[in-house]
């Protein structure tokens, strides 16, 4: 039984222009100690899905799912009081902007110890000791002195380390990292990712890493879930995904990697993720897909596990399929 | 194709940009229900002020000796000819209120115009030239701001002598530092922008630069501040009138009317209630409008 098991999660927002569906029937699971990566462009609903899991969305959001089970407990319909015992303690989250994610009015020590105060019955001295230990564990020099420092006195990388220390204070079973390295300098990025990976391995902590960067995925993830416009379009283990992407969107993402580009120009995916007003009626990727055919305007079919659960009528790299040439022909025929 | 009356493409483009901006402005403004209500009330007030002689049933200063302190029409003893009753010397309250709108709007317009003009000029000079002249101007503004506005206006009027004109001058003087500060701040933030630098490189003269390049970019905060000052000016002028230092009797200015009616407060509620209500409604309408303007003009609050 997986640690986290979400089935058919949908998140909708009531906006002035009608209902906006940010997450559309996403299913997701994560085993104990596993590093799962969720990949997609901005607007693909990857953060929203995880915020929904944590219960951090504004009240305007409507969250529905068939099930949302964490460590054997159903989170849907759980009372807020009960859920707050899980959130922070067993399931923690860090965010993209470490500098603004820490409260500027409280010291680093206060913010870390607050987590311990909330979820453990440690006394004052124990909390102090544990906080020092935590800061040391995320590689902050002079941890004792740093406890009395305010966030604005820290650099971005330091702030993210503090965030990690805070999130892992109660040794959670699952850590969700939402683009944890995106806002940082390149050299710091690698350090933060290393830190997260070692934490996951040492403590047997599951890690869900949200990113848009395929390079980060390759380096970190064990399994990958690709999301597009609020839908899960593909899911595979990381090696297979990189060698045999089944969804054209995944393939396009991979070919946009600089190190994979063989032409002089870096390939990019034409068009943008559909928004609230330009949602295509059929397959959501159809307007940007070079393999799309007439049936793609009706809808997309979910493929089996052999084809990475791809949400696509014409999955690539199928057994006995010799690449996309034939598809290209089909497309030409369909549009003429 | 639509036949354009304007021949040059540049002018046409500029006109279309302006129309689009106006449309966008109206979209955000009209989203705010309060602001639209405020706008309509304000328009109604302007109409009432302009056509006061046609609308008012009586002269604002004619004293009906046979009708002293007649209550409003719905109360016992009320008379149909005096809908909102009469004051202690037999003047029709409604007519005085209608004429009073002229004074309030006039006060607002004069104060804002004077304060805005001087404020922009001083602010542009301070922000553009910086250095000694900037320090001098801003110090003087700090000094003015150190006094509570009504107190300073009160003392100024005491020196200049009571009267509507002096009250307006005093209020304008007290409000002007806000405009100086705003203009200076926006000028300073715009000065380093590329478009200003390029205009400078292109050889634009300081005056041209200030009026054509810098000023248009300070307009939004100035408009919001002007609306705020408009309503505050009405309040302060009425307060001065109430203290006997603004418009002098028998001028039907709302604050002055309240001052005259004060001693009858427990005997005739209507002579006190209606002028104040008129002030409140006017000020409220303008403030509602101001909120809408701020939302529509402030790009920070605009949702992408």
């Amino acid at each position: 039984m997986p640690l986290l098991d979400i089935e058919n999660l949908t998140v909708e927002f009531q906006t002035a222009g009608g209902v906006f569906r940010a997450v559309d029937g996403v299913s997701l699971y994560c085993e104990k100690g596993e590093i799962l990566s969720i990949v997609g462009e901005s607007g693909s609903g990857k953060s929203v899905a995880m915020l929904a899991l944590m219960g951090l969305l504004p009240w305007t959001a409507m969250v529905t799912a068939d099930r949302m089970i964490f460590d054997g407990r159903e989170l849907l319909g759980m009372s807020p009081e009960k859920k707050r015992k899980i959130v922070g303690r067993e399931m923690a989250m860090i965010f993209q902007e470490p500098m603004s994610s820490l409260n500027p009015c409280f010291t680093v020590g206060f913010q870390i110890k607050e987590m311990l105060r909330q979820h453990t019955d440690m006394n004052r001295a124990q909390r102090q000791e544990r906080a020092i230990e935590l800061l040391a564990s995320v590689g902050i020099p002079a941890p004792k002195e740093r406890l009395s420092v305010f966030p604005h006195q820290l650099s971005g990388g330091m702030s993210q380390r503090v965030m990690i220390a805070m999130a892992t204070a109660c040794q959670p079973k699952l850590l969700i990292a939402d683009e944890p390295s995106t806002a940082l300098d390149v050299t710091i990025q690698a350090q933060i990712l290393d830190l997260l990976r070692s934490f996951a391995h040492e403590h047997g902590m599951a890690l869900i890493l949200i990113t848009h960067d395929m390079g980060v995925v390759a380096e970190m993830a064990e399994r990958v879930q690709v999301q597009y416009a609020g839908q899960k379009v593909e899911e595979q283990n990381v090696v297979d995904l990189f060698t045999h992407p089944h969804h054209p969107y995944t393939a396009a993402l991979l070919s946009a990697l600089p190190e994979r580009a063989n032409a002089r120009r870096l390939p990019s995916i034409p068009g943008v993720v559909p928004g609230q007003y330009d949602r295509p009626p059929g397959c959501l990727f159809e307007p940007r897909c070079s393999f799309a055919t007439e049936i793609c305007r009706q809808g997309a079919k979910r493929q089996g596990s052999g084809l990475g659960h791809a949400l696509c009528n014409h999955p690539l790299n199928g057994p006995g399929d010799d690449a996309g040439e034939q598809k290209q022909r089909n497309k030409a025929g369909a549009t003429s | 194709m639509v036949q354009a009356t304007d021949s040059t493409p540049a002018a046409k483009a500029a006109a279309s940009v302006r129309r689009r901006m106006l449309g966008e402005f109206w979209f955000y403004f009209s989203e705010n229900r309060g602001a639209v209500i405020g706008l309509w009330v304000f328009v109604a007030l302007v109409v009432i002020a302009i056509f006061a002689p046609l609308i008012a049933p009586h002269s604002p200063i004619h004293q009906y000796r046979d009708a002293l302190l007649v209550p409003p029409v719905w109360q016992e003893g009320g008379r149909w000819e005096f809908l909102l009753g009469t004051d202690p010397v037999g003047r029709d309250v409604l007519s005085r209120l209608i004429y009073g709108s002229r004074f309030s709007l006039f006060i607002g317009i004069v104060v804002v115009t004077v304060a805005l003009t001087f404020g922009i000029v001083l602010g542009l000079i301070a922000g553009y030239f910086r250095g000694g002249i900037d320090i001098a101007i801003m110090r003087v503004m700090d000094i003015i701001l150190a006094f509570p506005s009504l107190l300073l206006a009160l003392v100024l009027v005491a020196i200049l002598g009571p009267g509507l004109m002096n009250a307006m001058i005093a209020i304008a003087l007290v409000y002007q530092p806000h405009f100086v500060r705003l203009t200076r701040a926006s000028v300073m933030s715009e000065m380093n922008r590329d478009y200003v630098v390029s205009a400078k490189v292109a050889g634009a003269k300081p005056f041209y630069l200030m009026t054509r390049t810098l000023l248009p970019n300070c307009v939004a905060p100035l408009i919001v501040q002007a609306t705020l000052s408009f309503s505050n000016a009405i309040l302060d002028a009425a307060a001065l009138g109430f203290l006997g230092l603004g418009a002098q009797p028998p001028t039907p200015e709302w604050g002055t009317m309240l001052a005259e009616a004060r001693e009858f407060i427990l005997r005739a509620w209507w002579v006190v209630t209606f002028p104040g209500l008129a002030i409140l409604i006017t000020v409220l309408a303008i403030n509602l409008m101001g909120d809408g303007l701020r939302d529509a003009l402030d790009p920070k609050l605009k949702r992408s």
Binding site: - | I143, A146, A158, A239, L266, D291
Partner: protein, 335 residues
């Protein structure tokens, strides 16, 4: 922090000198000379006139007169009232407690009601409560308070007969002022009913004076809170599994209070302007009424020095608020 304080003082001292110059020059801007203005309509022999001018030092050059005045101010001599013949400082200290008591009550009402109202309105954005608070704040902000005071008198003193119309305490009670605060003095006097009478006299003026600060503080708190609630660190606090009360009341409010403190500080000027009107309406014997009376009596030494003292007090309070602002904002206090 010390640097911050020094930089404030560096601006404050020249401003205060400027304020004193303005206050000083007002009388001199008037047509005619001070002695003629004070004597009013009475005819005066030229010799006597010159004598008084000399006596009061008005025949010296203006800069000398100013330095003399400034020297007096720095040693606590603010001149004498033409009407009461008493030193201006004495009159001021006799009347100031009344204004202070009224203003303190008003600002307490405004803060105690305004901040929670603003916080709740922001938390329940768009709700009926929010709309009520926003609407009421806008009305309060637009209120001509002199009319509002009269209206309350009509209702509570006229129709309901609950509160008196003027003064600080009923004439039935008499006791020597100790603190100058009627609420405290009435309790100290031990006379039965004195405290209730003092409260009864204070309540309407305090409400009237609190109206605009209350509206401004509620509005400012709401908008500061709305901004803060959208911040990342509030999301972090929620991600820690903290209760909504702690997230809003500690993490969000602590940050929202920083701009609110500045707003509260700015209300001191509003309170002084409001005191002028409120004290006039309720015949409250404080410095607001004192200034209005002095203006109508043309008591120029009082106007001049009163203006200076009030501006000085406001500047001092603003300095205190600046320090407080620095203290609550770690970005300044821990630099």
């Amino acid at each position: 922090m010390l640097k911050f304080l020094l930089s404030r003082l560096a601006v404050l001292i020249p401003t205060f000198l400027g304020v004193s110059i303005i206050a000083f020059s007002f009388i001199r801007l008037l047509p005619g000379d001070p002695v003629m203005l004070m004597s009013g309509e009475r005819v005066m022999a030229p010799e006597r006139h010159a004598e008084i001018m000399h006596e009061l030092g008005y025949d010296r050059p203006l800069p000398v007169q100013y330095l003399d005045y400034l020297g007096g101010v720095l040693t606590g001599d603010f001149g004498k009232s033409v009407v009461t013949k008493r030193p201006v400082v004495d009159d001021f200290f006799k009347l100031f407690p009344a204004t202070l008591e009224l203003s303190l009550c008003a600002i307490i009402i405004a803060v105690v009601l305004g901040i929670p109202a603003g916080v709740l309105a922001a938390v329940k954005r768009g709700s009926f409560f929010d709309q009520t608070v926003t609407g009421a704040a806008l009305v309060g902000y637009s209120m001509p308070i002199f009319w509002w005071g009269l209206l309350l008198i009509i209702v509570f003193s006229g129709v309901l007969q609950w509160t008196p119309v003027s003064g600080r305490i009923s004439l039935l009670y008499f006791f020597k002022p100790v603190t100058g605060f009627m609420l405290i003095d009435s309790l100290l006097s031990g006379q039965k009913g004195a405290f209730a009478s003092a409260v009864n006299h204070l309540i309407l003026p305090a409400i009237v004076l609190a109206t605009i600060p209350l509206a401004v503080i509620a509005r400012q708190t709401r908008s500061a809170m709305l901004e803060v609630l959208g911040e990342d660190y509030v999301r972090t606090a929620r991600a820690k599994g903290l209760s909504p009360l702690r997230v809003v009341g500690l993490h969000a409010l602590r940050n929202a209070l920083i701009p609110v403190i500045t707003t509260v500080g700015l209300q001191v000027g509003v309170l002084m302007a409001g005191a002028i009107l409120t004290e006039t309406i309720f015949s409250w014997p404080g410095i607001g009424k004192w200034m209005v009376d002095s203006v109508s009596r043309r008591d120029y030494p009082v106007i001049q020095s009163g203006l200076l003292i009030i501006a000085g007090i406001i500047m001092m309070v603003n300095l205190i608020v600046d320090v407080l602002y620095g203290l609550v904002n770690p970005r300044i206090s821990h630099d």
